[in-house]
């Protein structure tokens, strides 16, 4: 019971902190090379290199996380590109990292402006990044990534999976239409 209450109180604080600081939202960014010919890319394949360290021992070589991310990426990529095993136009890489961030705004508020918002000031922030490399020229032609709070999500498999799906869909949506 105590444990359950702590979780509830924790999530209320967490939600309040996120709502107040805006860290619940995932911010998505990307940059893209201008393609030489519009709609020149029809297919992609996964890069042969495996996942890189994430900075969090719970996610390093974690096949559940890796498969979820790859499945989500394949589902989103399928809307635009064919997946091939070899001789594809594009090579897809992914990278994920997690680290602790300090929310200065919640700290500032506890210096007298607000008595109720002593909530959580340290949270786990994550970045998921996807890269597309032109297979012929071996140059990076698009990079998309999301940044946001993953606080408490690694410890909750269902929640993490939802977050990964949401993040990957947002990233892939930034691939330019003329690619």
């Amino acid at each position: 019971m105590i444990a359950i209450r702590r979780v509830v109180v924790g999530s209320v604080f967490g939600l309040a902190a996120m709502a107040a600081s805006g860290c619940a939202s995932l911010s998505v960014h990307s940059f893209a090379a201008r393609p030489a010919t519009p709609q020149q890319y029809k297919s992609y394949r996964w890069a042969a290199d495996g996942p890189t360290p994430t900075g969090d021992p719970r996610l390093d070589s974690n096949p559940f996380f890796e498969r979820r991310l790859m499945t989500a990426a394949e589902r989103e990529m399928a809307k635009r590109f064919a997946k091939l095993e070899a001789s594809a136009d594009l090579v897809l890489h992914y990278h994920a990292s997690v680290n602790q961030e300090l929310d200065i705004r919640t700290l500032d508020r506890s210096y007298g402006v607000c008595t109720q918002c002593s909530a959580q000031s340290v949270y786990e922030a994550g970045t998921i990044m996807l890269d597309l490399v032109d297979a012929k020229t071996n140059t990076l032609v698009w990079r998309g990534w999301v940044e946001g709070s993953f606080d408490g999500m690694i410890d909750n498999q269902a929640w993490l999976e939802e977050r990964v799906d949401e993040a990957v869909a947002k990233i892939v949506a930034t691939i330019p239409a003329n690619f």
């Binding site: 702590r6 360290p53 021992p57 719970r58 390093d60 070589s61 974690n62 096949p63 559940f64 996380f65 602790q100 300090l102 700290l107 506890s110 210096y111 007298g112 402006v113 607000c114 008595t115 002593s118 000031s121 340290v122 690694i154 410890d155 909750n156 498999q157």
Partner: protein, 182 residues
Amino acid sequence: MRTLQAVLIFAVASGGCATMSVSSHVEPGLDISRYHTYSWSAPDALPVPDPRLSENPFYKDHIEGAVEKQLATRGFSMASASPDLLVHYHAVIDRRIDVSRINREGLDCVGPDCPPEVFEYEAGTLVIDVVDAKTNRVIWRGWAQDTVEGVLNNEDRLARQIEQGVTRMFARFPRAAQGEKR
């Protein structure tokens, strides 16, 4: 005294760094009743072990003892030849930050004017992977995270922390024939 106790309990409950956090990931739709035997195997290459743990002989003993006990109570037996499952573990220690709320809730400083205190501590994460020996796929990963301040050089505390972490981790291990969804 009572106030101090209350403050300490509150600090432990809210501070985060002083409490152990335990969780796990599991393969969807896993049928654990297919597996009966296990064996220890070498951990994956990625994590770099902390020498304070990898060179501590008690650490290995305590972890393997605790895991073997948990697996035995769940009906798994150790098999050196062709086991169904391979079990490996690794522990990582890294520096983390937390914000103390003790001062603001305590007696010497009450109210919104008390500055929060940001401090750094060492957190240990013990990760245990259970692998299907035939497919070489991880079917379950459990972990426990806790502060290791004052623990690494104290065998009794290290043993208690490992015992608690492994017990709580395996409380989340899938059970056969209960149809329980995680």
